[in-house]
């Protein structure tokens, strides 16, 4: 491992021309939403700063974040792993294994104390001291606490690390919690999504490397550059939404015409992500572009907000699945029945007292 190399050194050693290097810097600035005047800062950071060491831990997850990450097209996975970040520890991508790899993690933690980025994929099982997620001979709960202690900042990759995802959906058998429930004293940037968009992932890393700080975050701790607007706001089918032209069945003519998927349960209007902007797999498409409603995978607890194909979430109510409208109609009916019953009693009492009065008279 060659430490203290700058990005520019690595590019040069790899035979990348100065022109291509500057192209890369410009592209990265664009993805970060920076103004053109900031390109020199990106170039300077790439030339002067040593590569940022990254420790990438895996907890309870499906590795879809890594799968997304290795499909990044700007820059490509080869650039990232060999040239951009110094990915010192990653139990999925590392060549080493076992004790050898765990030693690397401890060495990095010691050598770059307070300087490395801790990237976490997956969430933490805290039930029964975390025995439901054992990695490298220890519970993931302990490993995470130990590694987070000396990190400069923490990146929560994906819906799991950010909000919990499917593991902490009801009934959450392993007591899974997002990493922000375990790490309280470090700045955490949440990059939710199942998985997050690869360019968003590399953009966050580059931002930290360039400025030495975390990107500006929203109320949920997500970088505003990528999670400031809803899918709906940038959706190319928005015109059909406003016009009231909706797909009503997956095999109707409207589907072929590519109308709005709102009535098919699309969660685009309530989902903050860049899918309709950056898209996936190098800008090939995104779910709505392929005719499927957004399932809101970057929103907190999206598994419990189902079903995916209807607008109103089901509410467990007295043991039965219902929705807001059903509950509302039942409550209104109950109020009307109550009023009618009350009126009947009033009438009976009035009639009674009236007849008594008449008797007296």
């Amino acid at each position: 491992m060659q430490s203290n190399q700058t990005f520019a050194d690595v590019f040069k050693a790899g035979g990348v021309s100065r022109r291509d290097f500057l192209k890369f810097c410009s592209l990265t600035s664009v993805y970060l939403g920076l103004s053109p005047s900031m390109v020199p800062s990106v170039v300077a950071a790439m030339e002067k700063k040593p590569r940022t060491p990254v420790i990438w831990l895996h907890g309870q997850e499906c590795t879809c974040c890594s799968e997304s990450f290795i499909r990044s097209s700007h820059p490509t996975i080869e650039d990232i792993v060999f040239n951009l970040i110094s990915l010192d520890y990653d139990d999925v991508l590392s060549a080493a294994a076992g004790h050898q790899l765990e030693d690397v993690r401890r060495k990095t933690m010691k050598d770059y104390k307070g300087k490395y980025i801790l990237a976490v994929e997956g969430n933490v099982s805290i039930k029964d001291d975390g025995v439901y997620c054992m990695v490298g001979g220890d519970s993931f709960l302990n490993t995470l606490k130990e590694t987070a202690a000396d990190a400069a900042a923490v990146i929560a990759w994906g819906a799991c690390a950010s909000f919990g995802c499917v593991q902490n959906a009801h009934p959450n058998p392993s007591g899974a919690v997002p990493i922000s429930d375990v790490i309280k004293d470090k700045p955490i940037v949440k990059v939710p999504g199942c998985p997050p968009i690869s360019e968003v992932m590399t953009g966050v890393v580059t931002h930290f490397h360039t400025f030495g700080t975390l990107p500006e975050l929203d109320r949920f701790g997500r970088p505003k550059a990528f999670y400031n607007t809803r899918i709906h706001d940038k959706c190319y089918r928005r015109a059909f939404f406003e016009a009231g032209q909706f797909v009503r069945s997956f095999d109707d003519d409207a589907t072929r015409k590519g109308w709005c998927l709102y009535k098919m349960g699309c969660k685009g209007p309530t989902t903050y992500n860049s899918c309709s902007k950056i898209q996936w797999n190098g800008g090939t498409s995104f779910p709505i572009g392929s005719g499927h409603p957004c399932i809101g995978c970057s929103e907190p607890n999206f598994w419990d907000k189902g079903p995916f194909y209807t607008r109103l979430a089901e509410v467990p109510f007295l043991g039965s699945d219902s929705n807001a409208d059903k509950i509302g109609v039942i409550a209104v009916g109950a109020a009307a029945a109550g009023a009618a019953a009350h009126a009947a009693v009033t009438a009976v009492k009035k009639a009674k007292s009236g007849s008594e009065d008449n008797d007296k008279a």
Binding site: R219, A243, F246, A361
Partner: protein, 227 residues
């Protein structure tokens, strides 16, 4: 029926105007809100640019929402600074145990047929005051705050998103906020039924002309019929 022995001016013009604007807005908001959640009509055929199938309903909903908010704020002003004996918060003190005491219990008992006579109030009785506080004050406040938070989602960093956007993480996300706004909307038809029933019933039982009082402003005391 007995002779009218007293005419009392209870609901002043601002209160009556508030009432009817509020009633109109609530009905319009409920109907347009349901439509937005479930756009019922058949989609128009042709180029999207010529149609307002959804944006029109949304526009009506937002327009009535802002009238509703302005009306609500006016009513708050009137309650606090209007100096109106029958339209202020004055006697409403649910935090104090004494408020839940005799007058409240008497009214509850009367509604539950545990008392034969009806306590008589010129303004709101304690049970009505509590219902208005829960349904109209708390309910409207929630609908206004959650509504403005959702409205602010259109323009991140704008006024509504800065001042009301905290509702989104509070409710656990934008979707849950929409859902809560939708569920809470149903308290208004429930309230409407109870409100209309209570008014009609009081009119029949007490004969204080409470129903017409919200148009004319006057309630009446009538002479007891000779036994």
């Amino acid at each position: 029926m007995g002779r009218i022995i007293e005419e009392i001016y209870v609901w002043r013009l601002p209160v009556r105007l508030y009432h009817w604007i509020n009633a109109l807005c609530t009905v319009a908001l409920f109907i347009t809100g349901l439509y937005i959640a479930f756009p019922l009509f058949n989609p128009p055929l042709g180029e999207a640019v010529f149609f307002r199938g959804m944006s029109w309903w949304r526009f009506i909903h937002f327009a009535f929402a802002f009238i509703f908010i302005a009306n609500f704020l006016f009513r708050m002003y009137w309650a606090l600074f209007g100096g109106d004996k029958y339209a202020r918060f004055g006697g409403f003190r649910p935090w104090s145990p004494s408020w839940w005491g005799k007058p409240f219990l008497e009214q509850v008992k009367s509604y539950l047929f545990l008392r034969s006579d009806e306590p008589n109030y010129v303004g709101h009785n304690p049970v009505a005051a509590l219902a208005h506080f829960l349904f109209i004050f708390c309910g409207s406040s929630f609908m206004i705050f959650s509504g403005l938070a959702m409205y602010g989602e259109n323009n991140p960093g704008g006024f509504n998103s800065v001042w009301f956007g905290w509702m989104i993480p509070l409710m656990g996300g934008s979707y849950t906020l929409h859902w809560a706004h939708h569920l809470m909307a149903w308290i208004f038809p429930i309230y409407l039924i109870m409100h209309l029933y209570a008014v009609f019933r009081h009119d029949v039982v007490d004969r204080t002309s409470v129903t017409s009082s919200i148009v004319t402003g006057y309630k009446h005391k009538v002479e007891e019929e000779p036994a």
